[in-house]
Amino acid sequence: MAETTTHVAEPTRRDFLYIATGAAAVVGGATLVWPFVQSLAPDAATVAAGAPVEVDLTPIAEGQIVKVFWRGKLIFIRHRTAEEIKAAEDVNVASLRDPQADSARVKEGKAQWLIVYGNCTHLGCVPLGQQGEYHGWFCPCHGSVFDTSGRVRGGPAPINLPIPPYTFASDTKIVIGQEVTA
């Protein structure tokens, strides 16, 4: 083969064919990766299981934290006491690592209900309720401290406990996974 090909300075039709074939192989190979990577993403059944869930708030006593699951993720529903609300509101927001007012973390007029994801924003452990310096949550894994608004106040967690999408269907019922308000 090598003996039959003579070297020429000008690109030839053969050079073009080599490059075109090589490029097609590379692009084709790269394209083939897509379905395999995509198959690792949450599948249709998992996404479907993320349909909104209704939670009845009536049995949750004041001061109590209830754990529910939505999309396989743990969610805390905390019925806050008046002191806990006051403690959450009486904070210099600017001094926080992830500054956010308590009013931005609850629905208007429903300050007693705090609904947050239940996994520490550091590495995903479940923080323990009513513990730590601010009596919000304390994560036993790496020592992150959260206040009664679920905001990070100490330890390695970078951000506050996020708020899942939810809406009040009635005064005593929330729908988690549904953001729109009628």
């Binding site: 690792l40 993403a41 999309r71 550091h122 994560c139 036993p140 790496h142 970078p158």
Partner: protein, 426 residues
């Protein structure tokens, strides 16, 4: 291997016919029979063989466990108990596999620190050494995923914490994590893919091990003096000398292994892992397996999520650069009086980090972890480069033979000061 022309000559007609078609007998002969090994190797050089044995042992026990195990979030825990209680000798196979992982790491850490002490990572063995680092990283991934499979509390929360490390990556972190999980949290899809990968990775390790051994057989083995083989008198043939010594070392190591398996099979595990996974409750004190503790301590020492993850990754990746960070031309620490002290300080710091990783992240433990982490990196980034310039090494022996037999009187035929490094031996 290609560097050592085989002296193998097939005797039978079939042997000749086969060898001319697939020269595998010649390859084995030149690599594992006639291959010259330094005559002064100590038992620290048997850990390669011990590790090869452990890899095979883990694959064999693992293949059998996979016959009885069910990789499903609802059934995994029960199937492990089924292995322990119902499967004939299931308890033995599982304890061999679980403790085998720990033994594998005991052996690999001795192997790695032997390499650090005798400068085996230096030229011309850089590629050999880097392949070893790759094997170590694959081992860590395999061990982590294996620990998830019983689907106990430590399995579940270990998986949660380790996969969440990737969420520290800016912008794409959360997406990467959901792709690792196959869901919005650690769940059945996660368990399924971990099982698949836990079965795959050991064979990838085996592949890299072949490259590791191949790369070893090009320059040949390092030895306690760090000076290369210069004449046939410096070496002995691999078989019987290394073969029998390796087998003896493996047997002794198996006694050590058996002690754990038969007398304290759960000592290296965590009682929490006998509680089925519960996504609503995290164990009060979450710690990884002992072999990850120094790296875990480094992760926690940095009071910033992304910083901690980077530091932990860097703690291993920095090994790759060691052949270039170490500026000393002398391989063996036996001839480096100053480095010898720093080496042992480094060993102590690594043990300290391991211990700190097992403590809760509070009070002075955090400070101590930070000091040890700083020293860990200083060892690579300051001590190794600087010592090569300021240290005055002890005189090296002229040959391996001289180092073991004493200086030969009169006309031993070994030219004194022959420091040129031949790349072939014999």
């Amino acid at each position: 291997m290609s560097q050592h022309p085989t002296t193998y000559v097939p005797k039978s007609a079939f042997g000749k016919w086969f060898e001319s078609r697939l020269p595998i007998a010649g390859l084995v002969h030149s690599s594992f029979i006639a291959f010259p090994v330094p005559r002064n190797l100590t038992y620290f050089w048997t850990f390669g063989a011990i590790l090869a044995f452990m890899l095979v042992a883990q694959i064999v026990t693992g293949v059998f466990l996979a016959m009885y195990y069910t990789p499903n979030a609802g059934m995994a825990f029960q199937s492990v108990e089924h292995i322990m209680r119902d499967v004939n000798y299931g308890w033995l196979i599982r304890y061999l596999h679980a403790n085998g992982a720990s033994m594998f790491f005991v052996a690999v850490y001795i192997h790695i620190f032997r390499n650090f002490y005798y400068g085996s990572y230096k030229a011309p063995r850089e590629v050999l050494y880097i392949l070893g680092v790759v094997i170590f990283i694959l081992m860590m991934a395999t061990a982590f995923m294996g620990y998830v499979l019983p689907w106990g509390q430590m399995s579940f929360w270990g998986a949660t914490v380790i996969t969440n490390l990737f969420s520290a990556i800016p912008l794409v972190g959360e997406t990467i994590v959901s792709y690792l999980w196959g869901g919005y949290s650690v769940g059945n899809p996660t368990l399924n893919r971990f099982f698949s990968l836990h079965y795959l990775l050991p064979f990838m390790i085996a592949g890299v091990v072949i490259l590791h051994i191949w790369a070893l057989h090009v320059p040949g083995q390092n030895n306690p003096t760090g000076i290369p083989i210069k004449s046939g008198k410096d070496a002995v043939p691999f078989t019987p000398y290394a073969t029998i010594k390796d087998i003896f070392a493996v047997v002794v190591f198996m006694i050590f292994f058996a002690y754990w398996v038969f007398y304290m099979p759960n000592y290296l595990g965590h009682a929490d892992n006998y509680i089925p996974a519960n996504p609503a409750v995290t164990p009060s004190h979450i710690v990884p397996e002992w072999y990850f503790l120094p790296f875990y301590a480094i992760l926690r020492a940095i009071p910033d999520k992304l910083g901690g993850v980077i530091a932990m990754g860097a703690a291993i990746v920095i090994w790759v650069f060691m052949p270039w960070l170490d500026t000393s031309k002398v391989r063996s620490t036996a001839y480096r009086p100053l480095y010898k002290q720093f080496f042992w300080i480094f060993v102590i710091v690594c043990f300290l980090l391991g211990w700190l990783g097992s403590r809760p992240a509070e009070g002075w433990y955090v400070i101590a972890s930070q000091i040890c982490t700083a020293y860990y990196f200083a060892h690579f980034l300051i001590v190794l480069p600087v010592l090569g310039f300021v240290e005055r090494p002890l005189p090296l022996p002229n040959s391996i033979l001289e180092s073991v037999m004493g200086v030969q009187k009169g006309g031993a035929g070994i030219p004194a000061g022959a420091n040129a490094e031949p790349h072939s031996k014999g």
